[in-house]
Assembly symmetry: C2
Homo-oligomer: 637 residues x 2
């Protein structure tokens, strides 16, 4: 995922997902799952494990040393320049060159450098320049001939800053300079400055304790990353299901809830706040950081999530003409989002492009460098609502496609979210069905990536025709082993993937309640979803006079999109038919964007610039939308 990775080392494609157990020196080990072929550098970075680096994963600093102690990682071209033959034999590798193509156990040495840059997003190197800074100064003590006020004394010691100073900081300063407990006055203090605001004055030198939290506030999942802003390194990551789930799986249901009951907005806001604050508690505990050492938070979320979290009525987002209260919010504090951190911690919320191309997409576009590349690239964030960006030269187009809840499992009979027991991968070979199950346990349901895999495999095996119809069990060419799986549930044709909750290869009983299956209706749901998405990117390409063949790269984003098998996505026509290597899983780019905003004011400015450059294409008022949608329903065979 870094800018200049080695080419994949072997012919057979790596497995879709691999497990890596990171064992950082002096910290708790962490087991993570990442797409096969990801570098150890990216895998660590995505999962909040600090890695030494000054070049940002470009292979030049040779600082991102890790030792592979279980599993095998080939020696890269650069490794011999960084390690002795003995070290190489002991498993030492440069993390930015080391691709995880099987399950691994990896030791991570302690940090030795204090970086000036961090690598986040899709191979983006970010120069550290957070909005938060700490400055330690020793003030001259006042005398009758130097009656400057406390604040003048501090300002004069920080001549390069034009500080805005609120009342609490003045109170703090007075108390720190003359402790009420009668302790000795200490004129060495640390000023905490966010942008140009003096938010606190702390006694002594606390410059090394400087933290921020980046949030990805998704409709389904909320993720928080605690970042050390002095070094740019992640300290801890935590996630939870969005506690607003009882009000509906998607944004429209949640908006409807506020329209039907005037108290719902308050409750949805409170639930968002509780979720965010619970994560703050978790990452702070995990990272050994006091809440009051968190001076800024950054948040990426779609427009509805942001409106709800800020207590703004979301109704206008749900009905035409789909109007937001505001694209962006100035002068927010963490408390506005229910987050208990430093009492004057600021909050940065990613600005939105439109009611359905929210701050999460702006963050994602930033993290994937959509504005930095003149190649023709598609960015597709797949979820209930699918957001699509097309970068073509100096043009940046955006649209939103209503994909529906198929990928979240909500409208699928045996669907479930990606959690232990969920089928995330499906292969059909000859007469057998091979399942990849999260947690390596017995299968209990079908995750979105498993759904796409299953349908792709069924199309490939001739079990589903181009129009999306499940063939009859007695159709010509269906092998008997598969024909046995084509059954009926009531009047509806289904394809049984496995006995639910049973060991692989277990006998299928006769009770449909015991089956893990895909129904004809499920396939239709997926068809509608992928047609909506495909219509979206087709129309954007046409808007620029381009075709699918012109696309140099497809970035699949979002917690679902990142885990999608590129070959299956191509197979069902969800993404343009390009070489599989050009289809890149971009990871949780919204969260990565939030981290970038926290680490760098320059990136924040870039997000603002992005907002001004993007041209939004509204699909719902295009006369040819329905025709194009029907065109895209079919499966390419």
């Amino acid at each position: 995922m870094s800018a200049l990775p080695d080419p994949p080392s072997s012919d057979p494609p790596p497995p879709d997902r691999v497990s890596i157990r990171f064992e950082p020196d002096g910290a708790r080990p962490k087991e993570v799952r990442v797409p096969g072929g990801a570098t150890l550098f990216d895998a660590a970075s995505w999962n909040g494990i600090a890695v030494d680096s000054t070049c940002g994963g470009h292979g030049t600093c040779k600082k991102c040393r890790m030792r592979v102690v279980e599993g095998d990682v080939p020696v890269s071209r650069l490794d011999p320049r960084a390690f002795s033959p003995d070290e190489l034999r002991a498993g030492w590798r440069l993390a930015c060159r080391a691709r995880a193509e099987q399950d691994l156990r990896v030791e991570v040495p302690p940090l030795v450098t204090r970086p000036k840059a961090a690598t986040v997003g899709v191979g983006r190197q970010v120069i550290l320049r957070p909005a938060v800074q700490k400055r330690c100064v020793t003030l001259p003590e006042p005398t009758l001939s130097d009656q400057r006020t406390d604040l003048e004394r501090l300002r004069d010691a920080l001549p390069d800053l034009e500080l805005r100073v609120g009342l609490p900081a003045v109170r703090d300063l007075a108390r720190v300079l003359r402790p009420a407990d009668g302790g000795a006055a200490d004129f060495t203090v640390t000023a905490v400055v966010v942008d140009d605001v003096l938010v606190d004055v702390e006694p002594g030198d606390t410059t090394e304790r400087l933290f921020g939290i980046a949030f990805d506030l998704g409709t389904t999942t909320v993720v928080a990353t605690l970042l050390d802003l002095a070094t740019g390194t992640p300290v801890a990551v935590a996630s939870l299901l969005n506690p607003q789930q009882p009000y509906g799986a998607d944004v429209i249901t949640r908006i409807s809830a506020t329209m039907m009951d005037p108290d719902s907005l308050g409750r949805l806001t409170a639930l968002a706040h509780e979720g965010l604050d619970q994560l703050v508690g978790e990452v702070c505990a995990d990272g050994g950081v006091e809440r009051r050492e968190v001076y800024e938070i950054a948040l990426a979320g779609n427009a509805t999530m942001v409106h709800l979290a800020l207590g703004i009525p979301p109704e206008p987002l749900g009905v035409a003409p789909f109007v937001m209260a505001s694209r962006s919010f100035d002068d927010l504090v963490a408390a506005d989002l229910g987050v208990v951190a430093h009492p004057r911690a600021r909050a940065y919320v990613f600005p939105a492009l439109g009611a359905y191309v929210g701050g999460d997409i702006v963050a994602g576009a930033l993290a994937s460098g959509m504005d930095r590349d003149r190649r023709i690239r598609l960015f597709i964030d797949i979820g209930t609502n699918c957001e699509i960006l097309l970068a073509a030269g100096d043009r940046l187009l955006a649209t939103a496609a209503p994909a529906g809840p198929a990928f979240e499992g909500a409208a699928i009979r045996c669907g479930m979210r990606a959690a232990p027991g969920a089928v995330e991968g499906v292969k059909i070979s000859d007469e057998d069905v091979l399942l990849q199950v999260i947690g390596d346990v017995a299968p209990v349901g079908l995750a979105g990536s498993g759904l796409v895999d299953a349908v792709a495999a069924m199309v490939g095996a001739g079990l589903v025709d181009a129009s999306g119809r499940l063939v009859a069990a007695d159709s010509p060419g269906v092998p008997p082993g598969l024909a046995a799986r084509l059954r009926l549930v009531g009047q509806e044709r289904v394809f049984v993937l496995a006995a639910r909750g049973a060991e692989s290869g277990a006998e299928l009983g006769e009770d449909p309640a015991d089956w893990l299956y895909l129904s004809q209706r499920d396939i239709r749901e997926l068809q509608f979803a992928k047609a909506a998405i495909a219509t979206g990117w087709m129309l954007l390409l046409e808007e620029q006079g381009l075709t699918a063949a012109d696309v140099a790269q497809v970035l699949l984003a979002g917690s679902f999109g990142s885990y999608l098998s590129p070959s299956s996505a191509v197979r069902i026509g969800l993404v343009p038919e390009v070489a599989l290597l050009r289809i890149v899983s971009a990871g949780n780019v919204a969260g990565e964007g939030a981290k970038m905003a926290l680490l760098s004011l320059r990136e924040r400015a870039a997000a603002q610039a992005l907002l001004e450059e993007v041209h939004y294409v509204e699909l719902s008022d295009r006369p040819d939308f329905n025709d194009r949608f029907v065109d895209r329903l079919a499966f390419p065979v």
Copy 2:
């Protein structure tokens, strides 16, 4: 007090104080006491009674019409141009020319003009340009081809403003545009803007409801004036004793309280907040104004009062080297001062020059135009702490003199604050003592102005010698009627002014508890106080190479100073010996300054400029201070 008043009309000087009963059309009548010779215009303005005027009391607009219905006011030069002979006979006068030299009853007609300027301070005309403004706009309703956000819609309708918009205003805007009660959406709204911050969006057109409150937060008294910021007119005035009084009469005692008990700061802050907020309740009720229609407050107070009200530890103000936490405070809201007004009402607090030349003095200097005049003028604010400003050409010098509590009555045996029963004026003629008592009741104590009068009269009658010693009853030249009043209380000589609480002329008994008297020690207290003040202005004059004879005007300020008899003040050497007409009682200039700041951003900028121009002269580290102080102890005879 206006810039160009008619000269006083009669030879005998007016009485020190007169009562005026104003009867505004459609509002409750109000009885006020003002220095004799004040114009009705100033008397009304100081006391929150709205007067029609577009010229600001300069005699040109002829709008400040009032009708004197009891008592007599001579016809001025300008009156015949404004009124018919019948009207003049009926008592109609221009208020800006009408001097109150006796008790009066005056009818005030309703306002007919919507002024663009207001007169406040010492004859200062202020162009209305408050920080608060309201703008009513009708927004275009959104459509699919106009998906601008609510906020963009509002911003585009106010193209001349660069608004800063906080979260609450975005919430308000969304709610106002789409009422939650299902009422019809109203796209006509009024934006409330303070400086460049959008603080609220109100449904419909509310531009005529725009209020602010100016506070004079004194150590002894707190005064609040509710101002209509759309017209610049005062709506209501209220005052109360500073509720911090139980913690001490002066700033030093209150500072000491916080040093002895760590909880005291919190309690003193709470008391200040309660006092300010009680006044808000009173002026709002009196003026028929909702608290949420008050969008800004302005406050002038000394550094200690401001530190305490803002919850900042005041200890450093009380001990050398006398350091403030800050001169000025940005971004304050009314809630920081405990005031319940509009939830986002801003607060402007006058910046301070030094620990003992506070924002009250800066406000006073602004209100008396100390920065606008090239004449040599002294501004003396007399109280427990006396602040002195000297304006000389383009130089402005300031100092503070520790006068002690004599003027507040605290260190005086029979002293009391200026309240009903307090002797505020004393004359000694031949063998008799004539007392002027507040409320025209029996005398129970001696106010500061009565103290100065009494000592001046006793010096004049030879009862006190130049050194400040009370003569013996049997000294040569003491008339028998006065000699009978020279008595002993214990071992101490006293001069009995009256039988305490008894009718004028009542027989003096033999029990000192029944006497209202002035003791030798009281006279010493006053001597020390006036010597400290006189040393202050002498040293400032010398600093500029000037003498008392060069002084063109002396402004006596503060709730005490304004009521001082100029002749008595000269007699005891409290002020320079200049022609009495050059000694001007400036009224409550701190409160006037606060009103000016509320009415005009330009005046606020002028206050800031003043702060940067003034040169502070510290008296306590001058080697010659003590010698000069001893020189000024004697009474000029």
